[in-house]
């Protein structure tokens, strides 16, 4: 079942390749269909899991892959991965719908996105380090082609920077994985086994090195300050759907890896160096928000807010590693971190799609050249406003649920360091509020700018792509239990694992 979910998009991609005589419209319809079926399957998976309180892995499949290094095709979902898998399926579906009017090399675009969907789903479902890495790397490759093939502006350069930067990260990550592999007794790449008996527990120095490698690899992907500089150009020059996926799904790979790999497999080292994550997280929160505040390019701005939002997650997982802290609060922090991954995916995905609409109409991201868009494009304005408020953490939308848990969890863990960090990080929501109000004022409200005349309102497909994301954000913001019920057992498990 899970493997079907993972590989269905790929099968659809191959099918698209195999049937060459298909109009662009038909290609996109097939694409949308595949995404819809996949989303339905994920929903079925979610429902089929039931509401059991205990955290368990479901839909597990394990097939031997490289037996000599005990690597296998091992997939399964639990409370950490299921929300992200659902997010992936939804966001890819949104991008498919959004691309309904695409005209430029549609088939290749569809194939690439379907391929990326398989990759992203596979990554979140992977229970084997090597499999994780394979998907991790392929995601870079796929996204590179998206940026280079369909981007604009200086996309070749940005794409190359993205590729080289994240590829370097992935190789460092691979070194870390090899360290984990060699540290385990018996040697294995299996995440479940590695989690059960954490490797390198006897040699703190090596464990720290391995954590460093894994941490750097994931940090580049996340990205955290100061290894974030690939992100703004990549986002700016990527096509809207590509940015949405890059920010909405692929950034999560880094933080997901922290929760899934770094914390449970290197609990000792994680506890020892949790303060590093906390510091990096807080710096990321403030730095990302402040730099975003000074941007005049909408996409760049949103990209920097991603750094800010990822900072919250890093802060949360760092705070969760402080063993002295209150267990319930640390669980809350981890739950908040996972919720933030989902929330950020929805909201930032929507924001990037909206900025894509803006570029589509006005061929510019410059805030200063627009204004008063609420007049000519009320739906666009309304959705942008909702997305902005969701992103700045307004209650009633998903961002608040996530960030509140992170702050409360970090401060509530009761250690002075985490409390101070959490308190400082709260400043982030004020700065993001300021910067999004700035966007709203300069883009949507007030008097018309030079390009405002060109911006007409959202088309049906665009609305259909963006509105569900925000609607889900609203649902999570008001009634988050359906999501939290899935995440909470998993975060409790993570906390107990990291406490070993």
């Amino acid at each position: 079942m899970l493997s079907v979910v993972i590989f269905l998009p790929l099968a659809a991609a191959l099918g698209l390749l195999a049937v060459p005589r298909l109009g662009d419209r038909a290609v996109v319809l097939v694409w949308i269909g595949a995404c819809a079926v996949d989303l339905a399957l994920v929903v079925a998976l979610w429902i089929g899991r039931g509401g059991g309180a205990a955290d368990r892995i479901s839909g597990e499949t394990r097939v031997r892959w490289i037996p000599s290094v005990r690597a296998s095709y091992h997939v399964g979902v639990d409370g950490l991965s299921l929300p992200l898998i659902a997010l992936t399926a939804l966001l890819f579906g949104g991008c498919a719908v959004y691309s309904l009017r695409l005209t430029h090399r549609v088939r290749a675009f569809a194939v690439l996105f379907l391929f990326l969907e398989t990759v992203c789903l596979g990554l979140f479902a992977a229970l084997d380090l090597l499999l994780f890495f394979v998907f991790f790397d392929l995601s870079i490759v796929g996204m590179y082609f998206v940026i280079v093939g369909w981007g604009h502006g200086d996309n070749i350069r940005s794409g190359l920077k993205f590729f080289l930067y994240t590829f370097l990260g992935s190789l460092v990550l691979l070194l870390g994985f090899i360290g984990l592999y060699l540290g385990a007794e018996p040697h294995t790449f299996d995440m479940v086994d590695l989690t059960r008996t954490p490797p390198l527990s006897g040699s703190p120095g090596l464990a720290a090195l391995v954590l460093l490698a894994v941490g750097i690899g994931l940090a580049i992907k996340t990205p955290t300050v100061p290894v974030h500089t690939w992100l703004p150009p990549a986002h700016t020059d990527a096509p809207a759907a590509g940015s949405a996926i890059l920010a909405g799904v692929m950034l999560k790979m880094g933080t997901y890896g922290l929760v899934r790999i770094a914390m449970p497999m290197l609990p000792d080292a994680w506890r020892r160096y949790a303060w590093v994550a906390i510091v990096i997280g807080v710096v990321g929160v403030l730095y990302g928000a402040l730099v975003a505040l000074a941007q005049d390019n909408v996409k760049r701005l949103v990209a920097y807010t991603s750094i800010n939002h990822m900072g919250y997650i890093v802060l949360a997982v760092g705070a969760a590693g402080l063993a002295a802290g209150d267990v319930a609060a640390r669980r809350l922090a981890v739950t908040g971190a996972v919720t933030q991954m989902v929330s950020h995916g929805l909201v930032t995905g929507a924001l990037f799609l909206l900025s894509g609409v803006l570029y589509d109409r006005g061929r510019s991201y410059d805030l200063g050249r627009y204004g008063g868009l609420a007049r000519g494009a009320p739906v666009f304005a309304a959705l942008t406003a909702v997305a902005a408020f969701a992103s700045l953490g307004l209650p009633g939308l998903s961002g608040f649920i996530a960030e509140f848990q992170i702050f409360t969890g970090a401060i509530g863990s009761g250690t002075a360091m985490a409390a101070a960090a959490g308190a400082v990080a709260i400043l982030g929501i004020l700065i993001t509020a300021a910067l999004f109000l700035r966007v709203l004022h300069r883009l949507l409200l007030g008097t018309d700018g030079e390009l405002s005349g060109r911006v007409n309102d959202l088309r049906g497909a665009e609305t259909a792509a963006i509105a569900p994301l925000l609607a889900l954000s609203l649902v999570i913001g008001i009634a988050p239990r359906f999501l939290l019920d899935v995440i909470e057992p998993a975060s409790a498990a993570v906390i107990s694992l990291v406490a070993r």
Binding site: R157, L160, K161, Y165, V225, P226, T229, Y287, L290, V291, A292, L293, A294, Q295, D326, A328, A329, R331, L332, T335, G372, A374, R375, P378, A382, F389, L394, P395, F400, I401, F404, Q405, F407, T408, G409, A410, I411, G412, S413, G414, A419, A423, I426, L427, I429, L430, I431, A433, A434, L437, R438, H441, L444, L445, G446, T447, P480, R481, L484, E488
Partner: protein, 622 residues
């Protein structure tokens, strides 16, 4: 009971959301729907006040959330519902037909709904959610006329200022979890040692910000940019009242922490006095009313600080009625005459008599003139303050004098006969008429504002206290009542006399400027916070572009750099990834390809030399 507990907040929220979603399609029906819903909410609120429903639901792990109506909440839900109803009825009359009514009424309903949740929340999560939604709605309402960049800016300032204060609540929530392992509002005073102080600090910050107390007061001046009904609602039963409510609700915590109570009391008292002075200096009716709101809320905050919950609550309710009345009246004049300048409004009350009469009632209530309600309620909380500290009482009394002063000033300005200063349509095009629906709520509000004070009279006070669940709060002594009443009367009378004689009351220069401009608080916030932050942001963005990313680019250009270092020319130009990396790698690539000369004999020589070197290395490495 659960149904009622849910229905009370959900009805306005859902109805408001629906109106918002519908966009302009429902503009025609929006007013009627809004009024109808708010009427239903009044009914629900009364029912809830009687039956006291409570609901609990899971929200976050380990922190069950809930809403419940207890005595204090019961008073507030009814107040909120009633004032909302009154304001919406008025708005249905005032709002032009072409306006985006659906948006207006939608936002107003959500705004009121959020306030209802705020006053019924039993834990910090739900409270904070409603609290922030209320802030966002106030933003949207203040910026209702979004075409005007200035109004939008005002809305932004209001939102950012209140959100800055709201961060205190986030902090408080975290500290509550750390100290009390719970987010429930009731257990906060039992939190552990450092945490309880932090919780108190956070709560106090948030409440002071919301209530526009010093030093946050300036946003309330900005909030005037919205439509008059918005001001009427925002200044009376919602938003600013939320801060006071929270402090009253958490009075036990303030008392437990000690310093917090004192601090809050003094902030309230000083705000009441200073913003009273500011109100006196205003030349714009709505600005005067706004400053007076700060001042009046200051009394409630003072009450919370000293634990005078009954007095503070009574003050809140009475003030809500009076202030909404005053704003609606000011709005009616603004809509009809197109101005809200005090001088230009000369004669306005005579022209629209009913508005004028109700306005007079409200203004006199505000002035604390016996036997109107604010006279009693103010004294009942000052009585408690006097127990706490004579200084507080003195400041409070001085503030009461100010209140009498600005009440009288507003009253006189509009009741004066029309004269040379009277003008029309300086701010907007007036309609020249005040509609029936606009008039409808005024008398009721005037009556409520005038007589609500009876609850604080000794006869009714015990029942009032029972209702609120507080005990042992001393009521005002007759002497105190007489003192404040006579002082207020004197001030009003003096003002009337001065006005009759057309005496120019000169204010000293050093005080006039700051008072007119709300103590320059906004300028200070801009200079001390906003501009430095923006400068920092710009600097960081430049830093990010140049240094952080430059580091990456420099690493890519390391080859070139070392080459230049070697040749003694060190220059670090960071201009573009590919240019740099390109040159560096191109150079390295060329270097790597240089041995590939195409000449076989050089291949021979190189191979042999390399092999010889390898032999040497191997021999040395032994």
């Amino acid at each position: 009971m659960t149904f009622l507990g849910w229905a009370l907040p959900v009805l306005p929220l859902a109805a408001g959301a629906l109106l918002l979603l519908a966009g302009r399609r429902l503009d025609r029906a929006a007013a009627a729907a809004g009024v109808a819903v708010s009427a239903a909410v009044v009914g629900l609120a009364i029912a809830a006040a009687v039956t006291r429903p409570s609901v609990r639901f899971p929200l976050l792990a380990g922190a069950p959330a809930g809403m419940a109506v207890d005595g204090l909440s019961a008073v507030l839900v009814v107040t909120v519902a009633a004032v909302t109803f009154a304001v919406l009825v008025y708005a249905a009359g005032e709002l032009p037909a072409a306006a985006a009514r659906s948006r207006f009424f939608g936002l107003m309903l959500v705004f009121a709904g959020a306030m209802l949740v705020t006053v019924t929340a039993t834990d910090l999560v739900v409270l904070l959610m409603a609290w922030e939604v209320m802030g966002a709605m106030s933003y949207a309402l203040i910026g209702y006329w979004w075409h005007d960049p200035d109004r939008v800016r005002s809305a932004g300032i209001a939102f950012l200022t209140t959100r800055a204060a709201d961060m205190g609540l986030y902090l408080a929530a975290g500290c509550a979890l750390a100290g009390a392992h719970s987010l429930s509002l009731t257990g906060l005073d039992g939190a552990g040692a450092p945490w309880r102080d932090l919780v108190a600090a956070g709560v106090v910050t948030a409440a002071l910000g919301k209530s526009a107390q010093l030093p946050f007061s300036f946003w309330l001046s900005r909030a005037m940019a919205g439509p008059s009904p918005v001001s009427a609602l925002l200044h009376s039963a919602t938003m600013v009242a939320a801060g006071a409510y929270l402090l009253l609700r958490l009075a036990p915590l303030l008392a437990a922490v000690g310093w917090a109570g004192t601090l809050v009391a003094w902030v309230g008292a000083v705000t009441a006095l200073v913003l009273g002075a500011v109100a006196l200096a205003q030349r714009d009716l709505k600005q005067l009313l706004a400053a007076s709101t700060c001042a009046q809320i200051g009394f409630m905050v003072l009450a919370a600080g000293v634990g005078a919950v009954a007095g503070g609550t009574a003050q809140l309710v009475a003030h809500a009625a009076a202030k909404s009345l005053l704003f609606l009246a000011a709005g009616a004049w603004l809509a009809a005459l197109g101005t809200k300048d005090l001088a230009e409004l000369h004669g306005a009350a005579r022209r629209y008599r009913l508005v004028g009469v109700t306005f007079a009632a409200g203004a006199l209530t505000l002035a604390g003139l016996p036997p109107l309600s604010l006279w009693v309620t103010k004294d009942s909380l000052l009585a408690v303050a006097a127990d706490a500290s004579p200084g507080l009482y003195a400041v409070g009394l001085a503030a009461a004098l100010c209140a009498a002063g600005y009440g009288a000033k507003a009253l006189i300005a509009v009741w004066r006969p029309a004269d040379a200063a009277t003008r029309r349509d300086t701010e907007q095009a007036g309609t020249g008429r005040v509609g029936r629906r606009q008039l409808l709520p005024l008398p009721a509000l005037a009556a409520a504002g005038a007589v609500f004070g009876v609850v604080a009279l000794p006869a009714l006070a015990p029942a009032w206290r029972r209702l609120l669940g507080v005990a042992g709060e001393p009521g005002p002594g007759a002497g105190e009542l007489a003192l404040s009443g006579s002082l207020a009367g004197l001030v009003v009378a003096a003002a009337l006399v001065a006005a009759r004689r057309r005496a120019n009351v000169t204010v000293p220069r050093w005080a006039a400027g700051p008072a007119r401009h709300w103590l320059y608080l906004e300028a200070a916030a801009g200079a001390l916070v906003a501009r430095p932050v923006m400068a920092l942001a710009r600097a960081l963005a430049g830093f990010d572009d140049r240094v952080v990313d430059g580091g990456v680019r420099a690493a890519a250009a390391a080859g070139r750099l070392t080459a230049e270092l070697a040749s003694g020319r060190v220059e670090l130009r960071l201009d573009g990834l590919v240019a740099e990396a390109g040159r560096g790698t191109r150079r390295l690539g060329a270097l790597a390809r240089r041995p590939q000369t195409g000449q076989a004999h050089t291949y021979y020589a190189q191979t042999l030399v390399l092999a010889a070197l390898l032999v040497i290395v191997v021999l040395l490495a032994r």
